[in-house]
Symmetry: C2
Subunit: 404 residues, 2 copies
Amino acid sequence: MQWYFVAALLTILTSSQGILTTLSQSDGGYKYDYATVPFLAEVYKLLVSSFLLWRENKSSPFPRMTTEWKSMCLYPIPSLIYLIHNNVQFLTLTYVDTSTYQIMGNLKIVTTGILFRLFLKRRLSNLQWMAIVLLAVGTTTSQVKGCGETACDSLFSAPIQGYMLGILSACLSALAGVYTEFLMKKNNDSLYWQNVQLYMFGVIFNMARFILDDVKREFEQGPWWQHLFNGYSFTTWMVVLNLGSTGLLVSWLMKYADNIVKVYSTSMAMLLTMALSVYLFDFKPTLQLFLGIIICMMSLHMYFASASMLIPDVLRGPEEGSHGKLPLISKISGHRQPIFKEKDIELPFRHGLIVGLLVPWIVQWHLEAPVLFVPLLPFSTHQSCRWRLIISTTVEMGLVERIY
Amino acid sequence: MQWYFVAALLTILTSSQGILTTLSQSDGGYKYDYATVPFLAEVYKLLVSSFLLWRENKSSPFPRMTTEWKSMCLYPIPSLIYLIHNNVQFLTLTYVDTSTYQIMGNLKIVTTGILFRLFLKRRLSNLQWMAIVLLAVGTTTSQVKGCGETACDSLFSAPIQGYMLGILSACLSALAGVYTEFLMKKNNDSLYWQNVQLYMFGVIFNMARFILDDVKREFEQGPWWQHLFNGYSFTTWMVVLNLGSTGLLVSWLMKYADNIVKVYSTSMAMLLTMALSVYLFDFKPTLQLFLGIIICMMSLHMYFASASMLIPDVLRGPEEGSHGKLPLISKISGHRQPIFKEKDIELPFRHGLIVGLLVPWIVQWHLEAPVLFVPLLPFSTHQSCRWRLIISTTVEMGLVERIY
C-alpha cells in the first residue's frame, strides 16, 4: 500500500471526524460522556490489531515479535506523554482563550519538524524546512479571526505563562509523535504486534481514568461501565469507529512513512473540515481560509515534490545553481550585445499591445464609460476630488503607479 | 553596482514614500494638488538623467545612442499604457470599495510573472512560479481585514464588472512594466539616454493633463503653472524628490535586473510601510501582517536562493531527486533490517524524555498547578465541564490528541 494513499485516507477520516463530532451534538451539547469515545476507540483498535495479528500468525513467514520486557516497557511512554500533554493543554486554557490556543496549536507543526530532526536524525533540505514553516503559517492564516468577530486583541494580550505553556504543549505533542515513530521503526516487529502493545496500554490508561473518576465521585453514579454507553446514538458510534480507524492509519504511517506525513494529513484535514463546514453548516467563506488553503498546497508541493520537478536542471547553472540568479545581468555586464533578438520579442509585444488596447476599448463600449484616450476624464472638475482620493489611497498603499 | 543593493534601496525609498505622503497631509487632507507631484518628479528625473547623459558624453567611450525615430516612437507607449491603466483603475473604484481594490491589486504580481514569461520569453522554474504566487498571497494576507473593522463581506459581494476591471488593470500595469523592461533591454543604448526619452514623454503627458485640466475649468484659476506650487511644504518637496529617485532606481532595475525584482522590492516596501506604521502612527499590529511578512520572506528566499542552497545535492537521489521521497519506506520494503541503530537514537531520546518530563515538573512547581502524574485532575467533578469543553473544541478543530 502506498503511503500517500494512506495519508489521503487519513485526511478524509480526520476531517469527517470533526464533522461527525459536530453532528453527534444534540441541541448544542453532548448527550454522551465524550471521555468514553477515546476509550472505546482504543478497544476497537486493540480488537482489530489482535485479529490481524492472529491471522498473521497462521500465515508464514511467522511475524517477528520481540517479547522481552526491555522493549515492551517503552510502549506506555507515548500514552504517558499524551497524558501530561493533555494536562498542560488544560492548564494552558486557564491562561489563554480557545481561539488563541487554537492559533498556538499550529506551533506543533514546527516543533514536530525540529524534534524529527533532533531525535530521528532525519535530514531535511532548507526548502523542506521552509515548507514546514509555511504549513504552520498557512493553517494559522486560515484561522485568523475575520472582521465582525469578537475577541480580537486577545491574541497578544494573554499572560506570558500562557505562551510558555502553549510552546510546552506543542513540544510535548511533537515528542509523543516522534517517540511513537521511533517505537514503530526501532525494530522490524510486525506492525500488528506493536499496535497490540500500544493499544493495550491505551486501554489500561483510559480505564484507570474512569476508575479514578469514579473514586473522585465516590461511585455516586455506580461503576463506570454502567453509564459507559449513556446517550450513545448511531452518530456517536460512527465517531468511535472513525477515531479508531484514524488511529490505525496513523500507526501505519508511523511505521512506513513518518511524522511529517502525518502532520500534513492532519493539517490538510483541518482545512478540509473548514471548507466542508462552509457547505454543511453554511459558515461564511472567508478570504483567509482561501489564502490558507493556497499556502498549504504550496507547502505540500514544496515538501514532497522531487527536486528535478521543482527546479529543472536546464535552469540550474553548470557550477552553482543559477536558479534565481539573473542571467540577463551577467549577459549585459559581459559583452555588449543587445539582450533580446528584436524579432523574437517584437511580435508577441505587438499582439500584447493590440490586446491591451482592444480589451479596454471593448470595456468602454460595454460599460459606456470612457477609458481609452480620455486623459481629461479623471480631471473633470466634479470627479477631481474622487480622483485625489484614489491617488492618495493608492499612494498610502505604497502602490502608486509611476509614469517613468 | 549590485542589483540587490538597488532593490533594497528601492524598497526603502518606496516605503518611506508612503510614509512621507501621509506626513505631508495637514489636518487629514492635502493642501497641495497631488497631481503636481508626479509632474515635478518627472521633471526632476529628466533633469538628473540629462545631466548624467551630458557627463557621460564628455567621457569616453562615447555612449551608445539610437536616435532614429523608429526606436524613439516606442518610448511614449509605457506612459500611454499607464494613462489607460489609471482610467481603468478609476473606473474599477466605481464598482468596488478601496479595500477590495487594494486586495485585487496584488493580482499585479501574478500577471507580471505571466507577461514576463509570455513576452520576454524568460523561463521560470516551478519553484519560482510558486514563489510569485506566494508573494501575492503574502501581501494579500497582510491586508486581510482584522476583526473590529467594518465592511467585511464586501470582498465577495462586488458586481462582476468590478472583478473583471480589477483583472484588466492588473494586466495593464504588468504590461506597462514588462514593456518598459523590453525598451530598456532591446538595445545597448546608454541608460541615461533611454531615461531622457522616457521622461521627456512623461513630462509632456503630465503637462498635457494640466492644460486639459485648465481647459475644462475655463482657466478660472489661471494657467496651471501659476498654482503649481500652491500649499507646497518641505515634506511635499521630499515626496517629490523621493518619487523621482524611486523612478530612477526602477528604470535602472529594468535595464540591469528585471520586473520580478521590481515587484519584490515594491511588495516588500508595502509590508515595511505597514510595519513602520505600527510604530510611527501607532496602528495596532495584526497577526495577519506578521504572517504576511513571513510568507513574503519565504517567497523571496524561494525565488532568489540558488538551487544548491535550497536542496543540497546530498539530499538529491542519484537518478531522480529523492527530495521529499521517504527513504525509510523503501528501506523497509527492501530488506528486513531495523531502520534505526538503537545506540544512535536511544541516547537523544533519553535526553528528550528527561527534558520533556523535567520542564512540566518545573512548571507545576512554578505555577502551583498539578501537571505531572495527576491524571485525575481534569476529571475532578467541578472541572469536568471545562475539560469536556476543551476536548470538544479540540475535536472540532480536528486536532484532538489520540492516545494510540
